[in-house]
C-alpha cells in the first residue's frame, strides 16, 4: 500500500469517468461519468491524508467536502434534467443546446 498505488487508482477512475462524461449522450450516463471523476478525487484525497500529512485533519475535511459536493452535484444535475425534460422532452446532451453561441 503506497501513495503511488492510491494515486494510480485515482487517475484510473478519473480517466474512465472523463471518457464517460465526454462520450455518453444520455445526461444520466454523463452524470455517472462525473461521479466517477469525483470518486477519483476522493481516493486521491484519502491517499494524500494518510501518506503525506496524517497529523493534520485537513485531508479528511477535504474528503468530507468532496463527498458532500458529489451529493449536491447529483441533486442539482437531476433537477436540471427534470426541468429540461418538462420543458422540451429532452434527455440527450446533443439536443440541449440553448446556450450554444
Amino acid at each position: 500500500m503506497t501513495l503511488e498505488g492510491f494515486l494510480l487508482l485515482a487517475a484510473a477512475l478519473f480517466a474512465v469517468g472523463l471518457y464517460g462524461a465526454l462520450s455518453q449522450q444520455s445526461i444520466v450516463m454523463l452524470m455517472m461519468g462525473l461521479e466517477l471523476m469525483i470518486n477519483g478525487l476522493i481516493v486521491a484525497g484519502g491517499g494524500f491524508w494518510y501518506f503525506l500529512a496524517p497529523g493534520a485533519a485537513d485531508g479528511q475535511v477535504l474528503v468530507l467536502v468532496v463527498v458532500t459536493v458529489m451529493a449536491l452535484e447529483m441533486a442539482m444535475g437531476f433537477a436540471v434534467v427534470t426541468a429540461l425534460f418538462r420543458a422540451r422532452e429532452v434527455d440527450l446532451t446533443d439536443d440541449a443546446g440553448e446556450l450554444k453561441g
Binding site: 461521479e35 485533519a57 479528511q60 441533486a75
Partner: protein
C-alpha cells in the same frame, strides 16, 4: 493489507469500466455503486473508518436515487433493445487516455515529500474537532451550499408555480 488494497483497486477500476460497457442501465448503476463501495472499503484500510463507512452509506442512497431517475429518463433502461447512445468516442478515448497517462506519470515521477506526523489514535475524533474548530467555516459554507441546493432543486423540479394550487385541490381539467 497491500494485497487487499490492490484487490479493491482492481475491483473499483474494473467496475468503473463496466459502467460504460454494460447494456442494462440497472447494471451500469450498480457497477458504479460497486466502484464507489470498493473505494469506501479501501478507506477502512487506511484508518479512515468514519469516512469509509460514510462513503458506503451515502453512495448506496445516491445510487438508488440515480436508479429512480435512470428509469424515468432512459428509453431503454434494461438494455433489452440494442442501442448505442454515445458520440465522438474516439476523441473521448484519446483525451481520457492522455489524461490518465499524464496523471499516472505525475503520480509516479513526482518526488513526494516525507510523511509528516502520524495518524491520530482516533481519526474520527480529530475530524470532529477540526470541523468544529479551525475548519468550521468550511462546514458552514457547505451547510449554506446544501440549503441553496435544496431550494434550487425544488424550484427547478416542481412543475407548479408559487400561486398554483396543489394537485389534489385543483379543479377543472386537471381533475381526474
Amino acid at each position: 493489507m497491500t494485497a487487499a488494497f490492490w484487490g479493491l483497486a482492481v475491483v473499483s477500476a474494473a467496475s468503473a469500466v463496466a459502467v460504460f460497457v454494460v447494456d442494462s442501465m440497472a447494471r451500469a448503476t450498480f457497477a458504479l455503486l460497486t466502484s464507489l463501495l470498493a473505494v469506501g472499503v479501501a478507506f477502512l484500510l487506511i484508518d479512515l473508518h468514519y469516512l469509509g463507512v460514510l462513503i458506503i452509506l451515502m453512495m448506496v442512497m445516491e445510487m438508488l436515487i440515480m436508479a429512480v431517475f435512470m428509469i424515468m429518463f432512459m428509453m431503454n433502461p434494461a438494455g433489452l433493445t440494442p442501442m448505442r447512445m454515445v458520440h465522438n468516442t474516439r476523441i473521448a478515448g484519446l483525451v481520457a487516455g492522455g489524461v490518465f497517462v499524464l496523471l499516472a506519470a505525475g503520480a509516479l515521477l513526482t518526488p513526494w515529500p516525507r510523511r509528516r506526523g502520524r495518524p491520530p489514535a482516533d481519526p474520527t475524533h480529530a475530524l470532529g474537532l477540526s470541523i468544529m474548530g479551525p475548519k468550521m467555516l468550511v462546514m458552514m459554507v457547505i451547510g449554506v451550499a446544501i440549503l441553496a441546493t435544496m431550494i434550487s432543486t425544488v424550484v427547478l423540479a416542481t412543475a407548479r408555480g408559487r400561486y398554483d394550487p396543489p394537485p389534489d385541490r385543483r379543479t377543472g381539467e386537471g381533475e381526474r
